[in-house]
Amino acid sequence: MTPARASVARPRPSIPATENPKVVRLGSLPLGDVEGLRRDVIDRCKEGARLVALFVPPRATELVAVVARDDCADIAIQRAALAGPSYPALSSELPAAQAFEREILEVHGVRPEGHPWLKPLRRHDAHPFFQVDGPGIHEVAVGPVHAGIIEPGHFRFQCAGEKVLHLEIQLGYQHRGVERLMLSSSPARRIAIAEAIAGDTTIGHAIAHAAAVEALGAGELPLHAQAVRAVALELERLANHVGDLGALCNDVGYLPGASWLGRLRGEMLNALLVLSGNRFGRGLIRVGGVRFDLDSGQKRELAARLAEVERDLDAIVELVLDTPSVASRFEGTGVVSREIAEALGLVGPVARASGCDRDVRRDHPAGLYRFAQVPVAVTESGDVMARALVRALEIKRSLEFVHDQLREQPEGPARSRQLALEPTPARPDRLVVSLVEGWRGEIAHVAMTDADGAIAAYQIVDPSLHNWLGLAMALRDGEISDFPLCNKSFNLSYAGHDL
């Protein structure tokens, strides 16, 4: 039985794009007015582009927008001068901008006028929750301290009986000031900070940061190092997707799936351990290369481990998705329609489960992905089953990709076990956008350098920032008892959101 239709999406464009990371001279980006930027961004997004980042750099004199067009590998950057303490909000017409504008209000005190639900993204103590009034309406408050080992976040449900009318998600308990730390730290420390943005996306954020800095310095990485990075990124995806499928089983009380997939997640982390000496890949990615090369012994060991895991994995994933009691829990639960996914600018497996055909690895390929393609998994139904199915397909394809790479990895110069390149100094007055498809979706790092080549602004967008509102929408008119399952099917990062 196939629970939902899945397809391989359109093939990659024939010419590999090199727009990612994209570096532009600040001088080539004229400072327009905010109204023009607003109109232009909204129009582009209506025509199929999506908002990657919207931020105000530290001196609070300008507004910067990054918009990506996925079907033609285009990344557009716009700047506008901010005149005064407020500007007309983009969110009133572009819901995808809502979290960015709440952050702008919080960090810089610049008011986006006309924002439909304007409260600071993280420091929200003085702001009331959205409330529904009426007979029989009751409120359920969950968190920020939860049962089980998860991060802190507050969920406020407005319910009529078991039905959820509205869910407001309030985060910020994990705020560490990462973006400010990036500005005040030494280059060597920045990569360690990037690795700690979200503990489960160590590799993804580290690659995004390293690629941004390398592009600022105009350095080209040896192909071999790019291959190791891609293998590490896919192993991270594998570990997390396998763990997520297991957690989904656990939430519906399906024991065989939970325990088997939990064990296999450990095997995937161990594969990362073989590669980097750390189960989460800490210390592997460095600006200019990778710390550890793959020698032929390690290659053989990795391949053998993965082949073993693959056998078990195929059997258990098939068992889980074909068990009627599991399917009946997954199907039709927490549906996010394609319209909502597009409007909110969702990314990653969550977006692909709602039929949005987007994947940075194909649409804006960087590093090894310019030469080696991972097929994109897209399903249509937008429910928990779709999100499980997309993960199951991505597991399969990532495994194939890693196997291919281990077999055909380009033999680079023998620079085993050392940092590859001496980092070249960053060019002055540049802006760089670096995109990476982490396991949760698109990770964006945007950096600006000043006239001396020092980093003057650093903006991080974790996929969770886009997707949290998607979870709230998935719950609308659903059952409150389905919340934990929906939450797990999104599995968003609290730390990545709070920074």
């Binding site: 009751h138 409120e139 359920v140 408050a141 969950v142 049962a147 089980g148 009986g161 078991e162 089983c249 939430d251 519906v252 009380g253 399906y254 024991l255 065989p256 939970a258 325990s259 088997w260 064990r263 068990t323 009691s325 599991v326 009946s328 829990r329 639960t333 059952e479 409150i480 008892s481 389905d482 919340f483 934990p484 399952l485």
Partner: protein
């Protein structure tokens, strides 16, 4: 006298073991070694030694909940057949007394949950009330099937009139009664697929969420009461399927039967995912329908 002592000893000593066997079975199916079978006893001993925490918003109802629940469950245990088909207390209509003793325990558990004023616990109480109302007809229909041959609403009479060889003849109503009893056992004791006793997710819980605020000896009473409840239901099922003689041999056979029921519960829990909360009523109504058909068959046999 000996039978009564044996009955009370079984009732006091063995309920946590049933829970232990279920948990061990689930652990083995999940590929884990699992906690020892005696773990529920260790848990109870640990909780009894601890102090309890009471919220300032609670009243005597909150403290009464666990005590009444345990007393009601143990009381119900005195009416049902365990080591032999004769229970220490029996009278015409004790079948109904058992159902409502369990109901009394549930009422107080729910009242204690509402007493905390927590939205979680109120949610759990509302779910428990809704599902209990649906489980009750199924339970009574199963009891009715068993009581038809004797024509008496007393467990002692019913089991005397229910010779074991009826299973060897064509009596489909007995299968129906056993299935319905098993379904009600799963629902009433917050087992899968109705409730997940292991989950940590408050929003999905039914029974467990009602007792989140109990601690120490109160929590021990709650756990003990639910173990006794499971024991009573499993005992009824064993008696329906196996001929249990009086005395030591009967007690041994009964315990074996009990372990098999616990094993089956564990296997069911390991093999399937939990039902969506909105599907639980269908599950319970389905059990009632099966019970009604069984009762029809039983009445027709009695008439013709």
């Amino acid at each position: 006298m000996f039978d009564t002592i044996l009955h009370v000893a079984l009732l006091l000593l063995f309920p946590p073991l049933v829970v232990g066997v279920v948990q061990k079975t689930k652990a083995v199916f999940a590929g884990r070694e699992g906690a020892p079978v005696l773990q529920p006893y260790f848990d109870l001993a640990k909780l009894m030694r601890k102090g309890a925490v009471y919220s300032r918003t609670t009243t005597w109802l909150f403290r009464a909940g666990p005590i009444v629940a345990l007393a009601a469950a143990l009381g119900a245990g005195l009416f049902v057949p365990l080591a032999s088909s004769r229970a220490p207390i029996g009278f015409e209509g004790d079948v109904i007394a058992v159902a409502y003793l369990l109901g009394l325990g549930r009422f107080f558990t729910m009242a204690a949950a509402l007493d905390t004023g927590s939205s979680f616990e109120g949610m759990g109480a509302s779910r428990e009330a809704a599902f209990a109302a649906l489980a009750e007809p199924a339970l009574f229909l199963a009891f009715a099937i068993v009581c038809v041959p004797a024509g008496s609403a007393s467990f002692a009479d019913a089991w005397r009139a229910l010779p074991w060889r009826m299973w060897l003849e064509a009596h489909p109503e007995l299968f129906a009664a056993a299935l319905v009893l098993f379904a009600v056992l799963l629902a009433e004791n917050s087992r899968m697929p109705v409730d997940d006793p292991n989950t940590h997710l408050e929003l999905t819980m039914i029974h467990e969420v009602m007792v989140l605020d109990h601690s120490g000896p109160d929590l021990a009473f709650v756990l003990w009461a639910s173990a006794v409840k499971l024991f009573v239901f499993a005992g009824l099922l064993v008696h329906l399927v196996l001929p249990i003689p009086a005395g030591w041999r009967g007690a041994g056979l009964f315990l074996i039967g009990l372990s098999v029921v616990a094993l089956v519960v564990g296997i069911v829990e390991s093999m399937m995912a939990r039902l969506r909360l909105t599907r639980v009523p269908q599950f319970l109504v389905g059990a009632s329908v099966l019970g009604a058909m069984g009762l029809l068959v039983a009445l027709m046999e009695r008439a013709g």
